[in-house]
Amino acid sequence: MINTSDIEKIAQLSRLEITPDRAKELADQLQRVLKHFEQISHVDTKGVEPLITPTEIETYWREDSVVQELTPEDMLANAPDKIGNLFRVPPVI
């Protein structure tokens, strides 16, 4: 059973600000959705390795040579807040 305090915990872990009303709504929705999803527990999966990449793909590793096509200015062009070529955020200590 998922209650609003579970929802608040998940929202905090997900870094999402939600209102109490929204938390209530989400609790109901997630409860229903996850209950439906739980039907997979009926499948016997003993000893089965989970599948991640679904197709067989040949290994590809990069050679260790530098390729740099973009400038720091390109990389900071979308920054909401910056000083020089550094990203600015609230004080973290």
Binding site: Y60, W61, R62, E63, D64, S65, Q68, N85
Partner: protein, 477 residues
């Protein structure tokens, strides 16, 4: 130090930046001297749509290190995502290895105060570094040049029992990584970082005490001091009846104290899961044996070879093999003169002292291995005396010139011709009739006086043995 019947339990997590040209998952440069956010790309900035691609060299380096640390290398290892939010972590997750690391179950051996130690390596796994935050009071600035640099995290077993042991362990790991040329081991630049897990327990108990992590220690000396402080602090606390809080502490070298950085309120939930943007790292036996074959001689092997092959004492061998470059310098010099102990003495007494004073590495030495070998050879051949050799050494240090060139320019060759030495002594005898008759009357102690005077007269160039012989001959009268 008194342990008051407590036993410290210490484990180290060493983060070694691998010496690749490019990052773990992108082709950005890893050059340390770069302007703000110069070494970045959509991948290292975590732009929408960017994907990681494994750097082959980083895998090779990790295997090399794993083999040298006597680890098992997994034929299939897996990258996972470690999810947490922090401004210097661009994607909101760090690509690391979790349940299937590339190297595990290794060990290293070393001695502390002549006592042999064997320390388990639980695992060594690959991961990407985070960026760098600079705190400016009202705000923090983020530079992502470091973001994505490959790290090998080497985790020791909880086998270390003192600060000294921990620091020797860390030095040994650093030495091995430097021998392998996979990490430059620079603690100040952060290319090697040590986190220490410290707990104490009553002697005889099995159960571990509560563990405290000390982070960001930037020298081996401080590793030792921080741990010693922390051990005392924990014992004091327990003796006072307090309990140890599981937390992360920082070491302040100025105050020689550790202080709380953050407590583990509710344990972080990192939600590790296999990185779907990367395939598992699959290694073949062929790949592994190729790397095994290319593995260089490691410090301990080299140290025992030096003792055997060059008949050097353990002390010399250990110092000369401390750094790969130093040992290579030694062997190159020995090739020239075939006098291992001679080269060893010159390196350990003269060269290392000069280098230390000038804060230079052996690679930066103004005196080359060939030149030092030549110098030792010239002494052995009698071309110059030991005393003159010191003068020449000083000149070599200043000019980087070849010793023969210096000898020629300054006319410093040793005089070995008995006739030439005889002429000097004849003159000396003629000038000092008093002491000569005293000597001949039995005051043989005066020999030293004559040797000194004769040497001075030859401007130090006379071969001491021949000079002695001729002098004794002539003084007989």
């Amino acid at each position: 130090m008194s342990m008051r019947n407590y036993e410290p339990v210490i484990g180290l997590e060493i983060h070694a930046q691998l010496k690749t040209n490019t990052k773990m998952f992108s082709s950005d440069s890893t050059r340390f001297e770069a302007s703000d956010n110069e070494n970045t790309s959509p991948v290292s900035v975590g732009m929408p749509g960017a994907l990681p691609v494994i750097n082959k060299q980083a895998i090779d380096f990790a295997i090399r290190a794993g083999l040298a640390l006597n680890c098992q290398i997994r034929k299939k290892s897996v990258f996972s995502r470690k999810n947490y939010f922090y401004p210097d972590l661009p994607k909101g997750y760090q690509i690391s290895q979790y349940d299937l690391p590339i190297c595990e179950e290794g060990f290293i051996e070393f001695t502390v105060d002549d006592e042999p130690k064997k320390i388990q390596i639980i695992r060594a796994h690959l991961e990407e570094d985070a960026g760098k935050s600079t705190h400016q009071g009202d705000y923090t600035l983020i530079n992502l040049n470091r973001s994505g640099i490959p790290l090998l995290e080497i985790v020791s077993g909880p086998d270390l029992r003192s600060g000294k042991e921990a620091s020797v362990y860390a030095r040994t790991v650093r030495q091995i990584l430097r021998y392998l040329d996979v990490c430059d081991g620079n603690l100040e630049e952060g290319s090697l970082r040590c986190d220490c897990n410290v707990s104490v327990r009553k002697v005889g108990t099995e159960k571990f005490g509560t563990r405290v992590e000390i982070k960001n220690i930037n020298s081996f000396r401080f590793v030792e001091k921080a741990i010693e402080f922390e051990i005392e602090r924990q014992i004091d606390a327990i003796e006072r009846g307090e309990s140890i809080v599981q937390e992360t502490r920082l070491y302040d070298p100025d105050k020689n104290k550790t202080f709380t950085m953050r407590t583990k309120e509710d344990a972080q939930d990192y939600r590790y899961f296999p990185e779907p943007d990367l395939l598992p790292v699959i290694l073949t036996e062929a790949q592994l044996s190729k790397i095994k074959l290319e593995l260089p001689e490691l410090p301990q092997q080299k140290c025992s070879r030096f003792q055997k092959q060059y008949s050097l004492p353990f002390y010399d061998s250990e110092i000369l093999t401390a750094e790969r470059e130093l040992s290579e310098f030694f062997e190159e010099a020995v090739k020239i003169c075939n006098n291992p102990k001679g080269v060893s003495n010159w390196m350990m007494t003269e060269l290392l002292r000069e280098l230390n004073e000038a804060k230079l590495t052996i690679q930066q030495s103004p005196i080359s291995a060939v030149n030092l070998g030549t110098l030792v050879g010239l002494i052995d051949k009698g071309t110059i005396s030991g005393k003159i050799a010191k003068t020449i050494f000083a000149e070599m240090w200043k000019t980087s010139d070849h010793p023969e060139q210096i000898i020629k320019a300054k006319g410093l060759t040793q005089i070995t011709d008995p006739k030439a030495i005889g002429l000097i002594i004849d003159e000396l005898i003629a000038k000092n009739p008093g002491p000569v008759s005293e000597y001949r009357a039995g005051k043989t102690k005066l020999l030293g006086f004559f040797v000194g005077q004769a040497m001075k007269a030859s401007q130090g160039q006379a071969n001491p043995e021949i000079l002695n012989q001729v002098l004794l001959e002539k003084l007989k009268g």
